[in-house]
Structures are given as structure tokens and as C-alpha cells.
């Protein structure tokens, strides 16, 4: 007891010291910020008062540009000060959260290493008072218990002993308490943290990063890092903290925030995770959905594509089993390795045989022969993509045409002068004729120098011989012909189907290359289980110089079966020098009871561990009719609210179902509809289709219409798994009629 008091005093004293340091720094920065702002305002005023406003006067323009330069410098320096003030204010709230006492081998004494979100240097002594959680030495905290430990310093491996691990609760600039951490106690701490309400946006987890999570965050060996993570294992958190770590390391390795891209499943999800990096004091990193990549590559060529969510909705609401099977087969085929080979072959064939070269005639002579042009394309430098090669040919042709144009214009003027009855001026008339000729000629030239990707893609399906020629030697699915005919029958132009848009993106990337993302050095792919080979092939083309972190959960695929060799396929396609697959099998989100319950929706043993937090058992409600069910649901929601649960999600199978439910009782229950068009209101009550809520978490998840009509196929079972694992604390299922066969933990699923 006494010991604790002594320790507490010491810790509080240290805390006061640190606060004083931060306060001093803060005051200094604030003062310099005030000065900077003052200087900025003065400069701006000078510029407007003093400098002339018309740039017609050269001297005045020079003076203006000098003002602007000074202004830019002052602004940049001011903004840096503002950012630092913000960082220091955050630090003042909670300067550190952990301490490790480490005695280096060969040293007599242990040093206390304090760890926080950011490092703090004592400028007078040049001592590091607080280490950034990403510093190599801070790894001691995450990886080791008391005993022998080591970390990698720039000079080499530093070995020694950890004699103390301590954690602090410091909030809003107040020292609340500390505790010495061993495994049991940190688990209790984590349990307490997890027992709280779900935040409406994802928050950082620096204080509670687990050892296996830390290994993923700090991995720097692998060019491809794959993570198979159970629902609620912290995959996305880990991915974001990894990004923060890479940016920290990037200070020395030259990786900056605009060289990193996060591929997120949807805009909704991007919004959900948008708070983590700023909380860690890092700028936000570009977050893209695959649809954004396609849009970037295809550009104005194509109207808005069908989104992945729209595809899910189409598949989920498809009533006819045969139709659904065909749709799925089409999607799967077009995303497969077989189809990718066909697309590559199409690109080659296009260059060799399908480009509609024609002779170029102008001013009564043939400038270029079609065969010559074709050879020029085929003999170009192999590193130049086909589209660029064709562009070079266009430039070459136009150069010749422009040369010829001079004499052609003279001839046209002579022609015009022969007809004096023309009211028009001769030069303008001749010019008009020349321009018209050029217009026609240009159209003719561009008929073979500009690639119409959509037309080429359609041709692949329209020309039966071409289709099967491209498939020679490959194994096609048994309904390939049906798929071909259906694709051929699609109206054009029309918003392309998701799988066709992907194929088009791939085709264009192969034929035209894509420079937009040449700078990107690190790509993080979340919810990778919903990606197919074609997704990764496209990534390969768009991010040639990047390293990858790929995260997914094979149990949470939607409307498809993840092949057991999924990660192997990814490894094969991305083809990096070093790669590894790590697993996060412990789920932290749900209570033990919810995890146990959700296990019945998995095939075979899940290997899923649970962190071991207890909660209320999941409940199942049935009613005789829909009205009764709705009332039960509403009552349950009210009860949850009374019990202090703030975020509740009512999960429906499809968006259509969610909309229907929302129509009936959304307003009265005070619920919002999650339809992907608005940023999600994650605190409060919302009604959402399961596929949209994937990756998110709520205090309570309520599954609506959990009857056998809605949920009876293998894919349906997975949806139930996803739905059940959205809940932190409470799970309930509601149905009318016959309960889904999966609820009882048994039952054979129907084929589709």
C-alpha cells in the first residue's frame, strides 16, 4: 500500500514535469503563431495596398509575384506552427499512456521509457522524455512481458531486460491512475475499454495493441503482408495503425502520406475510419473504393458503373434461382484468371490484327500505306503501351498532313478564284474547305489511332469466333455460351455491370497503361475476401511499385465462396519478392456469448478465439404476424435505449428490405436508413442491409426477418454470420413463421 503511494507520488511528479514542458513549448509555439499570423496579415495588406493590380505592367507583375512568394513562405511557416500547436494540445490531453523500464545488457541501471502518441524532446537537455509508440524502442511495450527483451535500433539489436511494464490513464490533462501490467491486468483494462459504447467512428487502439497485432503493424520485411482476421479481431484498426507506423518510418525512408493508398470497400466505410489517422496525429491518407480506380482509368469513356453494393443487392434480391446462378456464374467467370488470360490475348490480337488501319490519302497522294502503319505499331518499343504507340502514329501522320497542307491550301485558293460569283472572300472560303477536309481526314485517322475500349470489349462477346479463339486451350465454365450471349445482348451504351467495368478497366490498363498512381509505394486492401483475381491484376497494373498489406476474412464473403487457396492466389498474382500470411484469430468485439452463438453460422470449426468478455446471451424473438413483430422490435429497441446502449443496427438481408422496414417504422423508432447515399449515422438507431454494415460495429445488432424463407442457402448463412458479428454487447434475431434452419445450429443448406 505504501509502495503504491510512493510510486503514485513519483509518477505524479513526473507527470507535472512533462506537463510543464509541454506547456512551455505550447506557449512558445502559440506566441510564434500569433506573430506569424500578424506578419501574415501585414504582408497580405501590404500586397494589396502596395502592388498594382493589373498585370499588364511588367514591373508591377514582378513586384506582385515577390509579394506572393513571401506570402507563401509565411503561410507555410504559420500553418506548421498551427499544426504543432494542435499536436501539442493533443499531447497535453494525454502525453503518454505506458512506461517500460528497460536495462540494456551491460548497463547497471534500467531506464524508464515513457510511451505516448507522439514523441517529446526536452530541448534544453536533448533527452527524449516521451517516445512515439512507433519508435523501435516502444515495441518493447507491445511485444514483451517482464524478462529478456530486445529491439532493433539503427545501430543494431539492443538486448536487455524489461523490469517494469506500467500503463496510465491520463485524460484531459489529468492523471487519473496507473497500474502495473501483466497479462491478466492488461486484459482487464482492455475488457473495461471494450465494455464501453461503440464510438460512432473508429478510434485508435494504441494503448491496447496486442502482440500479434503489433507484429503486423511493424512488419517491414514483407513486400506483401496478408492478414486473415476473424470478425472483430481488429483487422482494420491494425491496418490503419500500420499505415501510421509506415509514415513514421517513412520520415527516414522517404514514404509520405500521398504515397499511400487505402482501398476501402465503400465510401461509407472510408468515412467510418477517417478519424483514426488524424487522432494519431497523421494526415489522412487517400482512401479509394475500387469503383474510384475504375472511374480514374476509364475516365469520361464510360457512364457511371454499377457499384459493388448494387451488384450485391441485385444478387441478394434475385428471386429466381436459375437466374441468380447465371448472374453469379457470369460475375465469377469475368473475374477469373481464365478470363484475364482471354483479355490479355484480346489486347495482343487487337494490336496484331484488329486495328482498322487504312491508307492515308491527302492532296491527291497517298501519304501512308496501311501496312506500313501496322508495322510501325508492331515494331515499337515494347515498353510503350499500344494506345501510346497509336498516338505516336497519329502525331506522325498529322505532321505530314500539315506539311502538305500548305500546298493544298494554295490549290484550294486557286480553285476558289476561278469562281468570281462567290460572295465569299477567297482566303476564308479556301480555308473553310481545307478545315472541312481535315475534319474528315482526322476522323478517318482516329478511327484507328483511338481505341474504343467499350466497343472492343463488346466485340469479344458479339463475335462468337473471336470469343472462342481467345479461349483456346482454356477451360471455360459450362454456361460460358449463355454468359457470352447475355453479355452480347446487353444494351450499349449503358452503365456497365460491375464485372464488365472491372474487365474494361483491366483491358484499358493493359492497352493504355495508367500513370495516375505511379508514385504510390504502399497499398492497403481491406475486405479483400470480396476481391477476385481481376481486382489484384488491376492493382498490379495501377500500382507497379507498391508494397501491399492485404486484409480479409474468408468467412465473410458475400454471395460467393472464397477459394481455400485465396491467399495463395493473391500471392501469385502480386508476385512480390517477400510475402507472408499472418492470422488474427482472437475476436475482441463481441462478447463470449455472441461469438459462441455466431459459430453456428460457420462451416466447420472456426478456430476463432474470443477475448473472453461476458455479456447477455443472444435472444430470438418470434411473432405470429408482421405487425406484432414490428412492435416487438420497437419495444426491444426502446429497452436497449433505456439500458444505455447508444448504437443499434437493425440488419436486413437487402436494401429493398431495409427500405421497406424503414417505411413502416423508421420514423416512429427514430431510426435512420443506411442506404449508402449519406454518411452513416453510426450512433443512434439505423436500419441497414447486412452487406453495407460489414466492417462496422454497434452496441447492439438486431437481425430482422431471420426466417427460413430469407435465410436458407450457404450464402445466406454467411450473411447471418456477418450480421451476428456486428454486435459488441447485444444480439437479437426476429422472425415470423418458420425460423431459419441455421438458427438452431443445424440444418442443411439449399444449393442456392
Amino acid at each position: 500500500m505504501q509502495n503504491y503511494q510512493q510510486e503514485l507520488q513519483r509518477e505524479q511528479a513526473y507527470f507535472e514535469e512533462i506537463l510543464a514542458l509541454v506547456d512551455a513549448r505550447l506557449e512558445k509555439k502559440r506566441a510564434s503563431g500569433r506573430q506569424g499570423r500578424g506578419g501574415l496579415l501585414t504582408s497580405q495588406k501590404e500586397m494589396w495596398d502596395g502592388a498594382a493590380h493589373s498585370s499588364a505592367d511588367f514591373d508591377a507583375a514582378v513586384e506582385l509575384s515577390q509579394y506572393q512568394e513571401e506570402l507563401a513562405l509565411r503561410t507555410a511557416s504559420y500553418l506548421t506552427d498551427v499544426e504543432e500547436v494542435q499536436t501539442l494540445e493533443r499531447m497535453r490531453d494525454s502525453p503518454y499512456f505506458a512506461r517500460v523500464d528497460f536495462r540494456e545488457s551491460g548497463e547497471a541501471e534500467a531506464a524508464g521509457i515513457y510511451i505516448g502518441r507522439r514523441s517529446l524532446l526536452d530541448e534544453s537537455t536533448h533527452a527524449v522524455r516521451i517516445f512515439d509508440w512507433r519508435a523501435p524502442i516502444a515495441g518493447l511495450f507491445y511485444r514483451y512481458e517482464r524478462g529478456p527483451a530486445q529491439y532493433e535500433a539503427p545501430g543494431g539489436t539492443i538486448r536487455g531486460d524489461v523490469s517494469l511494464k506500467r500503463q496510465y490513464e491520463i485524460k484531459r490533462g489529468r492523471f487519473e491512475y496507473f497500474f502495473d501490467a501483466n497479462v491478466e491486468i492488461t486484459d482487464e483494462f482492455l475488457k473495461k475499454l471494450l465494455a464501453k459504447n461503440a464510438p460512432s467512428k473508429m478510434v485508435s487502439i494504441v494503448e491496447t495493441i496486442q502482440k500479434d497485432q503489433d507484429a503486423i503493424i511493424r512488419d517491414s520485411q514483407n513486400e506483401l503482408l496478408m492478414v486473415q482476421g476473424a470478425a472483430g479481431s481488429g483487422k482494420t484498426s491494425v491496418a490503419l495503425h500500420r499505415v501510421a507506423y509506415l509514415m513514421y518510418r517513412g520520415l527516414s525512408s522517404g514514404l509520405s502520406s500521398h504515397q499511400i493508398v487505402i482501398l476501402s470497400p465503400s465510401a461509407l466505410f472510408s468515412d467510418y475510419i477517417s478519424g483514426v489517422l488524424p487522432e494519431l496525429g497523421e494526415k489522412n491518407v487517400q482512401t479509394l473504393a475500387f469503383e474510384d480506380l475504375c472511374g480514374r482509368v476509364l475516365g469520361g469513356d464510360l457512364p457511371q458503373m454499377q457499384t459493388k453494393h448494387q451488384l450485391f443487392e441485385e444478387l441478394i434480391t434475385c428471386a429466381d434461382a436459375g437466374e441468380k446462378a447465371l448472374l453469379k456464374a457470369g460475375v465469377e467467370f469475368k473475374a477469373s484468371q481464365t478470363f484475364i488470360i482471354m483479355l490479355r490475348r484480346l489486347a495482343v490480337r487487337y494490336q496484331r490484327r484488329l486495328v482498322p488501319f487504312c491508307d492515308v490519302l491527302y492532296h491527291r497522294r497517298q501519304l501512308f500505306d496501311r501496312q506500313l502503319l501496322k508495322e510501325r505499331l508492331l515494331r515499337r518499343d515494347a515498353r510503350i503501351p499500344a494506345a501510346a504507340g497509336l498516338q505516336q502514329i497519329e502525331t506522325m501522320i498529322l505532321r505530314e498532313v500539315r506539311e502538305e497542307n500548305k500546298s493544298r491550301l494554295e490549290e484550294l485558293e486557286r480553285f476558289a478564284r476561278r469562281y468570281p460569283e462567290h460572295a465569299y472572300e477567297v482566303p476564308a472560303f479556301a480555308r473553310m474547305l481545307s478545315i472541312r477536309e481535315n475534319r474528315l481526314l482526322l476522323a478517318r485517322i482516329r478511327s484507328f489511332t483511338r481505341i474504343d475500349y467499350a466497343a472492343l470489349y463488346r466485340r469479344m462477346f458479339h463475335d462468337k469466333n473471336l470469343f472462342y479463339a481467345l479461349a483456346k486451350g482454356l477451360t471455360l465454365p459450362e454456361n460460358a455460351e449463355e454468359i457470352r450471349r447475355r453479355t452480347d445482348a446487353l444494351p450499349a451504351p449503358a452503365p456497365p455491370r460491375y464485372e464488365d467495368a472491372l474487365a474494361l478497366t483491366f483491358l484499358k490498363a493493359v492497352l493504355a497503361g495508367c500513370d495516375a498512381y505511379g508514385d504510390i509505394r504502399q497499398v492497403v486492401v481491406d475486405e479483400a475476401q470480396d476481391c477476385c483475381p481481376i481486382h489484384f491484376e488491376i492493382l498490379n497494373l495501377l500500382f507497379p511499385r507498391a508494397k501491399y498489406t492485404v486484409l480479409g476474412d474468408l468467412h465473410q464473403t458475400i454471395e460467393k465462396e472464397a477459394p481455400p487457396a485465396f491467399y495463395e492466389d493473391v500471392r501469385h498474382i502480386l508476385n512480390k519478392k517477400t510475402s507472408t500470411l499472418l492470422t488474427l484469430s482472437k475476436s475482441f468485439r463481441c462478447t463470449r456469448q455472441i461469438i459462441a452463438f455466431s459459430g453456428r453460422f460457420l462451416e466447420g470449426p472456426s478456430g476463432q478465439e474470443c477475448f473472453g468478455r461476458d455479456g447477455a446471451p443472444p435472444e430470438i424473438f418470434s411473432a405470429a404476424g408482421r405487425d406484432l413483430l414490428d412492435r416487438q422490435l420497437a419495444a426491444f429497441i426502446r429497452e436497449l435505449g433505456a439500458q444505455g446502449y447508444r448504437s443499434v443496427c437493425v440488419l436486413c438481408k437487402s436494401l429493398a428490405a431495409a427500405e421497406e422496414l424503414y417505411e413502416r417504422m423508421g420514423a416512429s423508432a427514430g431510426a435512420a436508413l443506411m442506404d449508402g447515399t449519406r454518411p452513416a449515422a453510426l450512433s443512434g438507431i439505423c436500419i441497414a442491409p447486412i452487406y453495407m454494415a460489414k466492417g462496422l460495429e454497434f452496441d447492439a445488432a438486431l437481425v430482422y426477418d431471420a426466417d427460413d424463407v430469407h435465410y436458407h442457402t450457404a450464402d445466406d448463412k454467411k450473411l447471418l454470420y456477418i450480421a451476428a458479428t456486428r454486435a459488441l454487447h447485444r444480439l437479437a434475431l426476429f422472425y415470423v413463421g418458420k425460423p431459419s434452419r441455421f438458427l438452431s445450429g443445424g440444418g442443411q443448406e439449399d444449393a442456392l
Binding site: R402, A428, I435, N438
Partner: protein, 78 residues
Amino acid sequence: MILQQVARLLAEILGEGEEGITEETAFTPEYGIQPIDAAALVIAVEKKFHLTVYDDEAACFATVGDVVRYIEASQGDK
């Protein structure tokens, strides 16, 4: 400013006031502009701004705005 100058040139050719001429003005009969007027504009622009406009480029001018942007781009290159 370039827009003003181009508008003035076009107005002279058409024999109308330059007030109604904007970047969106298209070289079509709806705007009262015939192909020969567009050709005359190209010649006038070449003279005024000391440029050479190739006819394959002129063939792509659909609006006054296209002409303005072309001139700006050429001046930027200088």
C-alpha cells in the same frame, strides 16, 4: 481578355455586336455562325495573335471557348 479580343474579331466578321458572344457560343447555325465565318475567325486569330493554327486543330474548334483555350495554351508555350 483573350475572350474579349476573340469576341471582337468574331463580331466584326459577323457584322454584329460583341455583347452576345461568350465562351459557350458555338460555331453552328443556331448562333448565326456559318462554317466560312469560323474559317475567317481562324485567319483573323492567326493574324492578331501571331500564331499558326493547323487545320486539323481548327477542325476541332466547336465553340469560342475552344479558340480561347487554344490561344492561351499557345501563349503558355512561348
